[in-house]
Symmetry: C2
Subunit: 162 residues, 2 copies
């Protein structure tokens, strides 16, 4: 399998997990949180999936397509190790879907960043809230969910806040 | 259709066109030319498709994954407006498959770059050689080929050297 094959499968898995998560949270109140804006493609997909929900985005610095930059009142700039704890007063327990993909391109580095941030993410999620994640995440507050049909194990990850 | 949807379709079209081109040139002698290395994902796919062919790569400067950097003797660094004409002595009429994707992310800019380089690319291709291209290309020496099944018109482009 070439890197092109592997990349296409990863993007398909990401999209399938987001679409599936959107079904899971139907009818549940809450905001959406995009952890890592990157070029804004996934943010654009979230906007399509959730036209009626507020979508907040955390990113170190914006490098997205100009059409895919969130409005300033929902853009949280800075190191997530600082911005996520500070978000607690504003969004604690109010996030019904979070998507985590900081996309360093290095799987071990992504897991390490995820491990540092997991406790803060869990505190932002409401009970029953869903976390869609590129890296695998181990946290007592998060139960793994089955992946959508056709997505190979470990290609992407889904969790639910207990 | 979100930018994520659109990106996945573009990558699938790229891969389908490359795989189709590989069938078209089966049994025809010649080297492969990758115009634009980028992160090296497509180069990696070309390596898988053509384990027995020489693959040359033109790129302004290398920013690819370390596993996807071609050996120095087949890496042509610099502005393609200068390096492609200079390649003529070495590869003129010997390229059986060229892939053009300079990937600026701006369709109009990509077409403009392609227009500047088309004449040089055509001179490198052998008769019957195939050009797989992200931007549309207009050149008297190149005849459009039908896209593989399932790929929407204009999503990617295939040409054959007359």
């Amino acid at each position: 399998m070439s890197r092109l094959d592997s990349f296409i499968r990863r993007l398909q898995a990401q999209r399938a997990c987001l679409d599936h998560a959107a079904e899971l949270i139907q009818g549940v109140d809450g905001v959406v949180l995009e952890l890592g804006l990157g070029n804004g493609r996934t943010y654009d997909h979230l906007r399509e999936l959730f036209p009626d929900r507020e979508i907040f985005v955390c990113e170190r610095r914006v490098a997205a397509h100009p059409d895919c930059v969130p409005p300033p009142e929902r853009l949280i700039l800075g190191d997530m190790r600082e911005t996520l704890p500070a978000l607690h007063d504003r969004l604690g327990g109010r996030v019904v879907l979070a998507h985590f993909d900081v996309g360093t391109g290095d799987a071990a580095a992504n897991r390490a960043i995820a491990a540092e941030l997991t406790a803060f993410i869990a505190l932002l999620l409401c009970r029953g809230g869903v976390l869609v994640s590129d890296p695998q995440i181990d946290a007592p507050e998060l139960a793994p969910l089955p992946l959508p049909k056709g997505i190979a194990p470990e290609r992407y990850h889904l969790y639910q806040r207990k």
